[in-house]
Amino acid sequence: MDVLINLSLNGLATGMLIFLLAAGLTLIFGLMDVLNFAHGGLFAWGAYSGTWIYATTGSFLIAIAGAILTGLILGLLTERWIIKPVYGNHVQQILITLGLMLVLSELLKVVWGPNQISASPPSYLAGSWELGNVIIIKYRVFIIAVGILVFGLVQYILKNTKIGLIVRAGVMDKEMVQALGINIQKVFMLVFMIGAGMAALGGAMLGPYSGVIYAEMGLEFAILAFIVVVIGGMGSFPGSILAAILVGVSGSFMAYYVPSLSLAVNMLLMAVVLIFRPQGLFGLKG
């Protein structure tokens, strides 16, 4: 029983981190038709800036806020300088975002050195609670709570505000949104920034969870996030959290029971979804 609970919580926490990365990817793809291969780089920048700010200021809260801010700023610059000139051209997008991914992770090494850096949670989030013979790691619960909070907040904005309405409409028909007098470029910029901010938040929370950060961590998580985007349905925000939980939890169980298959299971999940529901679990696009 305690094993099951722990595997579930571990899977949920990992799922939430993947979700924070996948949410931006899916919205950016759904709205702008851009596959952003540099998204993992923003995640890694969140991890490094968060860890550095925490070490410098001693405040985990400031670190998290600083990481999000780093993500927002990098997102703004990326959208304006890198993505905007290549809207509508998929080949160029893939090449330029892959290139940016490499640049972002090399820059991390330039600034903070090539070695792994260790990271740990603040004292109030370290340790665990014991309920009978079940041990619950506090930091896991923290990640899950933040993930749910972010999901709720973004979902609320998408459902209840004009800008959210425009984003949802834009995922369905960009041309029509513009023909109704809305400057979709501004919306693109905003969504890209928010996506980058969420990715950076995910990265900043991953450091203390896994104990170390390194430049390539972004790429590893980005692969999982891409799988989640496909499973959840390109452009579907609710799909991204459900698929992320699915991938996180199944990965956690497989790693425990059948470690040799823990990577294959994600591919298998994706294949099954693609065969039976090519548009993903919640996909809007055909």
């Binding site: 309405l165 949802r168 409409a169 369905m172 041309e175 513009q178 023909a179 109704l180 400057n183 809007l284």
Partner: protein
């Protein structure tokens, strides 16, 4: 009556295809100008060119005395041009209400008045206010698309084949509505249904192979069987 929209020798490429090769026409304020022509003549492309969705490579598009070609689509729309595309452009995953809200620039009394007016014309929209746009019938989608273009204080509506795929009785309803809107705004109407075109149109232009080839008052065309046969394939 003053000229509201004027296209002069407009040429538009889509990819490498030279689709419009000289489209010229004038739309006078308060009138319904009808664009006619066979399938593939370039009528839809002409409206898309005005909206900036397929910007022209040559020629001029002048709206209220101002050159608008080359402007981004949203700016064109903000100048007061409403667009009802051929495929209606309904956001299928949004409700009727949300489809209207995306379009609504303001939430003032004037907008509410227009909303009330249009919902009275299309009671179905009121009835299915919370229904997903994608689940509406073809006619209801058409009504929603027209209502959405009308909700802001637009001075010009571009409507692309509103009768397409609709049952005759629904066509009549749409026609009545456009007739009522004519009292309030200027309209450019693309229409193959000659009964509808001739009932509500004041002036006509025929587009053939990407060029305007003929123009005149609608009454003229009603009598010119020869011309109708030549360009429209109808008698």
């Amino acid at each position: 009556m003053s000229t509201q929209l004027k296209l002069s020798e407009v040429e538009t490429y889509i990819g490498q295809y030279h689709i419009l090769q000289g489209v010229s026409f004038e739309v006078r304020e308060g009138e319904v100008t009808v664009l006619l022509g066979r399938n593939g003549a370039g009528k839809t492309t002409t409206l898309r060119t005005i909206m900036g969705l397929n910007p022209p490579s040559k020629g001029e598009v002048i709206y209220k005395g101002e050159v608008i070609q080359g402007l981004p689509t949203y700016t064109v729309a903000q100048k007061g041009i409403g667009y009802v595309p051929e495929d209606q452009g309904i956001f299928s995953g949004l409700t009727v209400e949300e489809n209207m809200k995306v379009a609504m620039k303001n939430n003032d009394d004037a907008t509410k008045e227009r909303l009330d007016w249009i919902l009275e014309l299309f009671p179905d929209l009121k009835k299915f206010w919370k229904k997903q746009g994608g689940l509406l019938s073809g006619g209801q989608k058409q009504m929603l698309s027209i209502a959405r273009a009308y909700i802001n204080e637009n001075d010009l509506l571009l409507i692309d084949e509103p009768s397409k795929g609709l049952a005759p009785i629904v066509v009549e309803k749409v026609m009545e509505t456009i007739l009522q809107m004519k009292e309030k705004t200027t309209i450019v109407l693309v229409e193959q249904n000659f009964m509808m075109a001739s009932t509500i149109g004041d002036k006509f232009y025929i587009i053939d192979d990407g060029k305007t080839v003929s123009e005149g008052s609608m009454n003229l065309l009603k009598e010119d069987e020869e011309m109708r046969r030549k360009y429209l394939g109808i008698a």
